[in-house]
């Protein structure tokens, strides 16, 4: 015989195991916060030094600056995820992490390569930014089956913003007097900067409310 209390306890354990097995957050809130701030700082630096740039060299500087920002924010996020995994007694390369990497890698690789080609070979940093925004959004959406809702919303926000910026760019709605490198930096600041900060704050506030509720 099983009592209703024992049955409820069993169901609770099943639910918690299923949630744990199914959910993986590839971007931690503090990681997103650092990434967002770094994106804003990189964009501001690029906009400031743009006047000193040789017109033919803008794409190279743009690519280099964002690759450095990517390396720093990626490393910070990895360290935070490792700390979180250690606190839960889980390995860093957990099944969830492997699944996330398998989903994230193809769109990030294609987007990265395409963007670098646009910026370095064709000197179009603004187009490069739009490609990176769209492919990053697609990468986040590729984890939708096992990611929390906030990551899916972040993916949708990136794809939506990328599409809007692409339309505006093609319609000639962007101010023509802004240099391509600055325009690309603005696109990156609006998305990789602002969207990551909004994500970090909303996830952080939700977690705080959850902790307060006990």
């Amino acid at each position: 015989m099983t009592s209703p209390e024992a049955a409820a306890e069993h169901l609770k354990v099943i639910r918690s195991l299923m949630e744990r097995a199914n959910t993986y957050r590839a971007i931690s809130a503090p990681g997103a916060f650092v990434g967002g701030l770094l994106a804003l700082a990189t964009a501001a630096t690029l906009a400031r030094i743009n006047a000193d740039l040789n017109p033919g060299n803008g794409g190279n500087v743009f690519t280099l600056a964002w690759l450095i920002a990517l390396a720093v924010s990626g490393l910070t996020n990895a360290l935070l995820l490792a700390r979180h995994a250690a606190s839960r007694g889980e390995p860093f390369f957990s099944p969830g992490m492997r699944l996330a990497l398998r989903s994230l890698t193809p769109p990030l690789f294609v987007g990265g390569l395409l963007g670098i080609t646009q910026a370095v070979l064709h000197n179009q940093p603004d187009q490069c930014a739009i490609t990176w925004i769209l492919c990053y959004g697609l990468a986040l959406l590729a984890t939708a089956n096992f990611a929390p809702l906030s990551i899916r919303y972040l993916g949708m926000a990136f794809v939506g913003s990328g599409t809007l910026l692409l339309l505006l760019w093609h319609l000639g709605a962007c101010p023509p007097d802004i240099p391509d490198t600055t325009l690309g930096a603005i696109f990156m600041a609006l998305t990789f900067g602002i969207l990551h900060l909004v994500y970090a704050l909303s996830v952080g506030l939700k977690k705080h409310a959850h902790d307060e509720a006990g």
């Binding site: 049955a7 069993h10 099943i14």
Partner: protein, 100 residues
């Protein structure tokens, strides 16, 4: 009235229930992933997996790998999935009965 004889005794054990739960979340699991997910010892996990395999709930396939040793892949069988769903339905019935 709930028929308690329908409660699958093979699944109705904490360790085996946890294994069935994880197996229900993805098409297949490696031994290492199950071990990490459940924090069970090798001996405990293999004993439970063999019991579930014997009951027809879990399939075990050996996957050859080019560079490493072959690894065992575990998955719920159709019978296993049905048994797990039936088990959940009975648990829910019991919980609902307690609420009445």
């Amino acid at each position: 009235m709930i028929d308690f004889t329908k409660l699958d005794r093979t699944i109705h054990e904490k360790g085996r229930l946890a294994i069935m739960t994880l197996l229900a979340t993805r098409p297949h699991w490696s031994f290492q992933d199950l071990k990490q997910g459940l924090q069970m010892s090798d001996g405990n996990l293999i004993t439970h997996l063999r019991a579930l395999n014997k009951a027809g709930h879990v399939s075990i396939t050996r996957e050859e790998q080019a560079t490493r040793r072959p690894q065992s892949i575990y998955a719920l069988t159709k019978t296993g999935r049905k048994a797990f769903e039936a088990y959940l339905a009975i648990l829910e019935e019991i919980v609902n009965l307690g609420r009445q």
